[in-house]
Subunit: 344 residues, 4 copies
């Protein structure tokens, strides 16, 4: 079976394993206060052109989202998200478990527009009974979105302007950030992202690491006491250096960008494979998630040798499915996929 259903099917990039092995018997202090974490934080700040930001390392995405959001909001506030947002549908109510409503806005492509957020903020502020409702206290977006879509630089700048005007911090979930940055035809850079939000994270789990997410806090007010939150939410890894070492490997010589570009090349090839056989797509994704629409009887044949993620039925006997590439996708597996799709 050749697997394409997600981007966390393998372990870590070999360079990361190598470094873990090299440092294995070294003694370091715990909880992320070691030299590797400090060095990795510096490398990331440099890559983000954000010398004054704080960098923390957490273990996973749901944990990072929960920890950030509950640290930012006051108890009467909620977080604005596209209705397709990961925090709204795929985190088992983690945000609500910390006491906060996810204020979901309709979205067809997984993105939030500046206009929609502005209207929501303004409607709340002008409602005479607003204290009977949840106050919007921050905005959550993901880059790329759960639908594989991307914001342009101008879209992000507009959204951030609305957030600043409304007094609500903007948070970007970058679980797959590398794949967004490497996508063709989009102009956002890592420094652009850092300059246009208050807090964001650069995902490691899906981009070459065994696990781990690097959180960057730009806003001064949001920095305060953040390590208490990491500890309380179970994210303060005893052997914190494991996170530092992995992000050193990813950011020392551009490995993060290099393996992201590889995944995009593979995604482009996946797209081409299906395009050339005449399949349509659910969305025009430029990232590592591709959503071809395939007749169900052909899907059944394909699924004998390949895994994918079932996305949704399109009616009339067709379904949209998700094929993911990643840093680990091999030419051999893509060749096999091409052969199989052509044979359908």
């Amino acid at each position: 079976m050749i697997r394409f259903e997600c981007d966390y099917l393998e372990g870590a990039h070999p360079e990361i394993l190598k470094r873990l092995a090299e440092t294995n018997m070294k003694q370091t202090i715990g909880y992320g206060c070691d030299e590797h974490c400090k060095n990795a934080a510096e490398l990331i700040k440099k890559a983000c052109n954000a010398p004054d930001s704080d960098v923390h390392f957490l273990v996973g995405g749901t944990q990072t989202n929960t920890t950030v959001i509950c640290s930012v909001l006051r108890p009467h506030q909620g977080v604005i998200s596209a209705e397709t947002g990961h925090i709204n549908v795929h985190e088992s109510g983690a945000i609500e478990a910390t006491g906060h409503k996810v204020l979901s806005l309709p979205s067809t492509d997984g993105k939030l527009t500046a206009k929609a957020v502005e209207e929501y903020l303004s409607n709340h502020a002008n409602d005479l009974n607003r204290e009977h409702m949840v106050q919007p206290g921050m905005v959550y977006i993901s880059y790329p979105t759960e639908c594989g879509t991307l914001y342009t630089k101008q879209e992000l700048e507009s959204l951030y302007l609305v957030c600043r005007n409304g007094g609500v911090p903007l948070y970007i979930d970058g679980a797959r950030m590398g794949y967004g940055l490497a996508a063709n035809g989009y102009d956002l850079t890592l420094p652009d992202i850092a300059a246009n939000c208050d807090v964001f994270y650069i995902g490691g789990t899906k981009v070459g690491a065994l696990f781990g997410e690097a959180l960057i806090i730009n806003d001064k007010n949001l920095k305060k006491d953040f390590r208490y939150f990491i500890k309380q939410k179970g994210g303060l890894l005893a052997k914190g250096r494991l996170l530092g070492i992995q992000f050193e490997a990813l950011f020392e010589n551009g490995l993060y960008f290099e393996i992201s570009a590889h995944a995009i090349d593979c995604a482009n090839r996946i797209r081409k494979i299906f395009e050339e056989c005449g399949y349509e797509f659910l969305s025009d994704s430029k990232t590592n998630q591709q959503f071809p629409i395939i007749p169900d009887n052909k899907l059944e044949i394909l699924s004998r040798d390949f895994t994918y993620d079932y996305w949704c039925s399109m009616g009339n006997g067709k379904s949209a499915v998700r094929f993911c590439s990643s840093w680990a996708t091999t030419k051999e597996n893509l060749d096999a996929l091409e052969k199989a799709v052509k044979a359908l």
Copy 2:
């Protein structure tokens, strides 16, 4: 600098790193549903003689404690703990953050007695205004305790009998369980522990793994929907196999017990080093944490080359400190410590 302040100073046992490397490019499904996790669960159930229990793998100790406790308690209930319990003092209010009071009982040695728990339960049940108070809903102990002390088999059986009679589940935090099981002069085995509580965890982070804790749920009612809780609390690792692979290594050929025994040998030697030089101890610990009492001026000298954990002042110019051994402690470092202590 030679470090003795805790038992998470190094990476993982080499056997674990070896297996991670061997399996690195293998594709598996995510979130702990892979074959490695299933196999590790079977190995652990066998070692516990608990064929009907459920086994889950989580990332860290605070996360495991929080996830278990909030899954067991109803909102009006609290968890009984010794006042020195990890959940009461060193988890940044993680339990309270899920809505529950830690009902702390006085304890001089870190242990809870069956008698104290029985009295507490009975006092609450007989209080006419009990609904104005937090209802005790479960009991938390750690084995070994934060003070390095241990329960005998009879003590644990008595405590569990009180819990069953009172209708409150007993949970055992086994962050350092291997070191408790390997301690000299104590009779509890892993099957004894499994037979005398409702839910417990076997710590990996401090006993040879990079990270990871194996949770064993014995009670049928507590098993229900537990994976939802792991996900909600941020503990459902995307590459869950990393946990399965590590616990396979630890439980396939008795490695967990072997490296625990090594740590106890090292701890015994640490004890002997200080004993032979005439130092007294804060407690009669048989586990991997040793608490010698040392004059502050000598501590200062020692701290030039060695790290330890400062525990508490004993007055009159002396302090109790903690020296930890672990699976990774080397003969060279113990030799150096011996030389230094003798030279004080």
Copy 3:
């Protein structure tokens, strides 16, 4: 100014004030354990034909909803509600503040259909990744709904059957229950309601009392320890007898039904006033909330002497507004309204 914007504009029915005055200097024990509360509970159980149910008295609606819902759900569960449900939009995130997501379903008339709930439950149960989502743990409806609509007996029975089959308790918010029971053309009785849900409340605040809601718990499992929850959520009134005395007055001689019928008569007259002048309505409400659609320029004139609740713009210069009647609505005020509407 004559007010029609809501149904809590005046104090209490005079009979209630009379009884509060008569019992004022009597000494009773606190927290709802007095004879008045016990007597009122018996009267309510009789009126509901529910001799085995538990009755509790709480102060307000948001408090009652929050207390009930957080007592029923486990931490990984949410409550299904129409998207217009009071708990979803007008309780400032009170449900989320106890850790639970409101799982909102689309609804045009404020009602939940058995079919929609059945599909939601079934979709969740069949989802292979369900543990990444919030588990539906109960169903919330209001009777009448926030839109003034009502369930027929058959609709409620169907919905309750779906809930029972799905293992999720059904909870009915009866803030305005009297007005629903008194509505013309609907067949549900109080015993019908009690027989077709697991827990519900009969609202006092909006139906003649100064304040207070009577909660009836039918399901045995949901009864356990409920007073702890009332206390924890701030609803255990020290002078609990104030609630008992009020509900005695409301249920001793059918006062609750009598004043509800008066309000419906008044609502019918309000409807007729607008109908006869040619106005259309947002919904076909048979309850004490009427939603005429009025040109904005005429609304402006009307608002010089009358208050109403602005509901929504209908476009093209018209708006839907809410006029409420209640136990306290007077003939004089209705006469004045009629005159004014005719003069528009």
Copy 4:
């Protein structure tokens, strides 16, 4: 049976009932935005000499404590309280249910000393592992305390200075504040209290009202969005005017102070009754709670005609019990008590 076990045995002061009756059919807008609430707020600000403070009205004490505390603390913070504090022992875990630990300090008389708080704050701030512990985020005291004791002006000033220096708000629970202000031999006035804390409440439930507490927020930062919190925590009474009307009655002509003084006179007589018969007291309470120590066999006789609150066993066949006076205590009942005690 003549009852002395608490200070909420009767309804309300007749003047309050009278005003509720007078205003009963008046129409007012809801949720505390009416003229009565505004007027009552002005009267209270004047009585407190606190023109810039915000005043809100809530229904009960536990509700007020919970709402205030959860609005002040960030999620990683806890509230310092004497171990006997109401929030620590008699609110069913209401504070923890909002996610916060009660950081309890030992206290023999129910009071917190400036010194103890200063040490706690300083110890936390200096702890290198402080992020593993709950951060103290505010201080809670009650005036009078649960033990009937009082702070002097100097004691309160010292405590407040420590709080300001430590950056933690001071909150005073004044459930029985009137009885503290009326106590003989203490110098604190209402303006003193207002000047020496950040937020406090003046209790109505136990001092003449049917129910209701007036919350005064002095600190500008704590004022923000407070009505959202009241609503979310179920304290925003639909007919909010009921609170305004009651507090108008209490503060328009000094009724609050007058009836408080009456209760203290009655408490002094209770004290004298027991003193003259040779009984000792658990504490030197000057407030409306008196704690005589009585042989158990005599208590049994007394309990045939009188109720009191059992406090604790003193050993050797004696117990401390609580007798409360209030605004409603009658001369007849005191005469009867005197006769009975003398006859023991």
